[in-house]
Symmetry: C2
Subunit: 382 residues, 2 copies
């Protein structure tokens, strides 16, 4: 009897695989699923490098989701058409491949860089909801001649929970993206009523994210700031056209009406249990540390972090874009105003972040847009 | 050696449990997870009845997610505080309980109805992300004296993937609910600019769902109609106050501006890849079968199902609510107008559904609101 057929050993193996399955299913975060997957795959079948390829169904190409080990730098940006090479043929056939001498395989097209020499490949299809969604690949077993039948069996058992965990994380990320997209589209539609602020919302989102990232806030917090900044002016929906579109400074009564957008916005957002975290950003982005802001005249520590960040982003954008009754200020002048407001109008930590970013030329519309794009991609679409 | 310790038998058992784990992870639909769970739990440990309890963390109570077998009718609405009874103590301790003679257990509080006599209980905690989220319970083993240690071990192994699948489905449903809530809140905020149509969006959503359900459309389609109806007037964001709020019939130029809300709404929605399915409902809900509608003058089969449904719901609501320049029509008169428009303005299938509902008194604001509520609950929150 081969050692691999020993039932006691097999039992231990199954127990490990069941634990891994539970661990993979315990998150809907794509990056975490991928990290767990490669760590565990290498634990179960020791290999020099491992990778997960995902199928881009539209283009019928495989791309890398994640790769570990020394081959990483050679192949990170590789794209492989379905049906080509070894991973491409695994996707097409839906069957695992175990090739212990790649040089003798017709489909092998050589290593893609000088940093790694492939000897052996074990590639198993990832099948979720009955469809092949990618490939799990191990290269070069460590301490053995080649991959064994046991390796292949283990990886095939591992592929089931992995494929489902990947698919669930993808679906969750897609739903989340949809949510953010819809909120953004509606917020921008609302913004369009005001012909003088085109793109304001998007710029404030970008600036706020730059500040929050520089301040070292964690990813969940960035996500919250993104939504809060997107919705910060949503209450302007209730401001009449005559006030919103007035091509001149507002008189005190009109100012009063305009200022109500903070309260109206908060009311819209408050109806959403799930958006509690966004509420302070919407209601309090016109508060000032010295208590002279609106709508509540909050002071100092009464003002939460998110509205403090949005306040700087919002004010900077207002100063650096033109209105019919006043020209945009040059960036340096606006930056000086932000610095001048430190401690009275603005939070010193936020202003410090602003100054760091501004000094190195990173507080720009483009940098904000790029950060926003990278966050959206992090949601899970390659 | 006990038969249960036989490694070969254990291997077969693990294989089954691994397959079940993969099946549980292959969906994010809560109802499907629950159905698979009880079917498989009964397959693995044959029992007279089985149930899944979920922890309501806020109230520190357990409620039924699903129950199968003859005890169902007695316990469906039961709520059990944490710490009380046997399931309550499993949640508190986080440990499984196997009780083969419940009458001798102090915590047992008797059967809650006359349809079922409990002899034995096997209850295992459902732990996801390190937190107890509920309990899986089996009652009365079939063909055996009591539940065995093997039963308990199998159910404990089964509980891991089940707990994760439940938690993932809950999170997915919560995210979806958040999406629908936000779209609804923003659509209603936009609607509030028009002081004469308070509640119009919500009523049109309810009426549209009543029609769609009566027409036998599947659940995914109801979901699509719900979103499309919610957003059908989103383009009114771009209609100036002077036109939107005019307390009199619109002149031709103003009508032209007002009619543009279909195109503007479609443009807002079109920017959202994920909302493709909603687009026709937003753009084409003022089209008519005879080609005399707007904005595109589509005819007959050119008009998709969703806008045909919204058209009837929208028109009926407009007729049965007051405007400053005209009074609401009585329901019967409005219904007669819908019937009169059959085949020229409206789709005959939709009108047929309307007539069926109206005839039995089910085409009401309340019925629509109730259907909407039941759909929201189906999203996964008990």
């Amino acid at each position: 009897m081969l050692e691999e057929d020993n039932p006691t050993r097999r039992l231990a193996e199954y127990e490990t695989l069941m634990e891994i399955g539970v661990e993979l299913a315990s998150t809907l975060d794509l990056q975490r699923v991928l990290d767990i997957a490669l760590r565990k795959a290498e634990e179960v079948c020791h290999a020099e490098t491992s990778s997960i390829w995902e199928l881009d169904e539209e283009r019928q190409q495989l791309f890398f989701r994640i790769v570990r080990g020394s081959a990483a730098q050679d192949i990170r940006n590789l794209r492989v058409p379905v049906g080509e090479g070894i991973v491409g043929s695994v996707v097409e056939s839906g069957r695992a491949e175990r090739i212990n001498d790649v040089s003798s395989d017709d489909r092998w097209r050589g290593d893609s860089g000088p940093h790694f020499a492939t000897r052996a490949i074990l590639a198993v299809p990832l099948v979720a909801r009955g469809r092949v969604i990618g490939v799990l690949q191990l290269l070069n077993p460590v301490g053995r001649e080649g991959f064994t039948e046991g390796d292949q069996r283990r990886m095939s058992l591992f592929a089931g929970p992995l494929a489902n965990a990947l698919e669930n994380a993808r679906l969750y990320a897609a739903q989340k993206r949809q949510f953010v997209d819809v909120v953004t589209a509606l917020a921008e539609a609302i913004e369009k009523r005001d012909p003088y602020t085109g793109g304001h919302v998007r710029r404030v989102v970008g600036y706020s994210l730059l500040l929050a990232e520089d301040m070292g806030l964690p990813p969940e917090e960035l996500e919250r700031i993104r939504l809060a900044a997107t919705l910060h002016d949503v209450g302007k929906i209730a401001v009449p056209d005559l006030v919103l579109n007035k091509p001149a400074p507002l008189d005190p009564a009109e100012q009063e009406v305009m200022r109500r957008h903070t309260v109206d916005g908060a009311e819209i957002v408050a109806s959403l249990r799930e958006l509690r975290g966004v509420l302070p950003g919407v209601r309090s982005h016109h508060e000032r540390l010295d208590g002279k802001g609106y709508p509540d005249g909050l002071q100092g520590s009464e003002i939460p972090a998110v509205p403090r960040i949005i306040a700087v982003a919002d004010t900077y954008d207002a100063m650096t874009t033109s209105r019919p009754y006043r020209r945009a200020l040059p960036a340096e002048v606006a930056a000086g105003e932000i610095t001048r407001g430190m401690g009275t109008q603005f939070c010193p930590h936020v202003v410090a972040a602003f100054e760091r970013l501004f000094a190195r030329g990173s507080f720009t519309v483009e940098a904000g847009a790029a950060l926003l794009r990278s966050l959206s991609q992090g949601d899970g679409k390659g």
